[in-house]
């Protein structure tokens, strides 16, 4: 696929590139549809409920019906909202969520842009989404929205730092920011990065949950106190864009965790190598998605001030210690 992508850009190849991006978008939309269904089923299972059962066999068409409802709904813009920003905000939130997927390698051969700085690109571009939710919050002219937007911004800025810092250990050991190089390094070492970088892995999981604003860090849209945070005044397809961005990030973050800490497409044991890499990737990826939903069903929500304390007073020093120890071990061993 890298040779295929290295072709000179003309009208024909440009069309093919655009089509392959559309295929990825289709895959991601399919994932989002069934991730929502899966989430409702898993949470239902944990809480001794059935989850959706009525629409289609086993409720499989529930999300399709929900999305159809959202798209057909009347487009409501509140009278006192800031109209241009209100319209623009869902787009600012969604576009980066899809743009980050460009650098993710799914196997050694199935990947799009093989960027030298893939890991950093993901984190940098995903930060723009917060700008979208903050703009949406302000434009809606609603106090719950504003509080939600404020929390989103504070949370994103505080947790982006430990998120990057926890990855520095892996980058030090690999000597590269390229995601394919990182997976190849794990193949070379014979173990996945979550073993030598166990501290970094823990910090990364906690910080990534906060970046995704999922339980226990979903105070951004804590429905019992803030209705729906920055999405309170949104309905119809604009609301769908925000939701879509959120679930596309679940896709992205689960992929990044799989690639960086769980060995990407590598099989767990040598003798299982006959199973194609994409299967291993999907298995690990699905485990991560299940993990997010599992946490959602079992953990209570954190308070806003506890969240800030955890970010600045616990995760940041720990990630600095992790960098220091990794650098020391790399020099001594």
């Amino acid at each position: 696929m890298s040779q295929f992508l290295a072709q000179p850009l003309g009208w024909g190849t440009g069309l093919i590139f655009a089509l392959s991006a559309v295929v990825l978008l289709g895959v991601v939309l399919g994932f989002v549809t069934y991730a929502i269904y899966f989430e409702r089923k898993v949470v239902g299972w944990v809480q001794f409920r059935h989850g959706p059962t009525r629409t289609g066999p086993l409720g499989l068409l529930q999300t399709v019906a929900d999305v159809l409802k959202l798209l057909l709904k009347e487009d409501i813009i509140p009278a006192l909202a800031d109209k241009p920003l209100f319209v623009l905000a869902p787009l600012i939130a969604f576009v980066p969520s899809f743009a980050v997927l460009a650098t993710l390698p799914f196997t050694e051969s199935i990947h799009f842009a093989d960027l030298g700085i893939g890991l950093l690109y993901y984190i940098a571009v995903s930060g723009i989404t917060t700008l979208g939710s903050l703009c949406g919050a302000w434009a809606a002219n609603n106090k719950y929205s504003i509080i939600g937007g404020m929390r989103a911004a504070a949370q994103m800025i505080s947790y982006e730092i430990p998120l990057i810092m926890s990855l520095v250990g892996v980058i030090l050991m690999t000597g590269s920011l390229n995601l394919i190089d990182i997976v190849n390094k794990q193949a070379e070492m014979g173990m996945w990065f979550f073993i030598p970088q166990i501290l970094g892995f823990g910090i990364f999981i906690i910080a990534s949950l906060a970046e995704l604003s999922r339980t226990p860090f979903d105070i951004v849209e804590a429905e019992s106190e803030l209705v729906a945070g920055h999405m309170t005044e949104y309905s119809g397809f604009r609301y769908a864009f925000f939701m879509l961005a959120e679930y596309v990030y679940v896709f992205g973050m689960a992929s990044i965790t799989t690639l960086v800490f769980l060995g990407g497409w590598l099989p767990p044991f040598e003798f299982l190598g006959f199973i194609p890499g994409i299967v291993w990737f999907i298995l690990k990826f699905s485990f991560m998605v299940f993990f997010y939903m599992w946490l959602r069903a079992t953990f209570p929500r954190m308070r806003a001030d506890q969240l800030m304390q955890l970010g600045w007073k616990v995760l940041l020093p720990l990630s600095l210690v992790n960098i220091f120890v990794t650098a020391l071990l790399k020099e001594l061993l």
């Binding site: 850009l9 030298g116 930060g127 903050l134 302000w138 937007g149 911004a153 800025i157």
Partner: protein, 167 residues
Amino acid sequence: MSGQFVAFFILSLLTIGGAVFMISLQKVVHQVVALAFSFLSIAGLYVMLEAEFVAVTQVLVYAGSISILMLFGIMLTRHDAHEDTGRGKFKFLAFIVVAAFFVLVFMGIQTMNIEGTPANFSQQNNVLEIGKLMFSQYVIPFEIMSVLLLVALVGAIILAKREADDK
């Protein structure tokens, strides 16, 4: 006309357009969003120059964090979204000054001649090369920069603490 030219044209239009809107828009929040677009387009220009690391840092620091911090600050402090500025008094004079400045800059760019050969880095690992240079040739400026940042950090904390003590 190459694709690169088209990309450059669009990106520079967005950069300048974002800056112009930043000045001409009335609401403070709109201005920050326009500025964020300008920042993002500058990152695009860096990508065109094959300086990917600089581009990503631009997105991470300016488009991501700085814009959000600005919005955050505006929302926490200002309650009136509009700001009325005295306009129109010196419109003609301002136009003359700006036009003269534009002509000067344009002439300067037209006659500019950069000495030396351009660096060849397109086949190399961008981040690795920057790291090597930063910790060998430019290590002293790099360390001085970090001390400067530390001083700014300590200064900010002291200022904030003094204000808290006054209350």
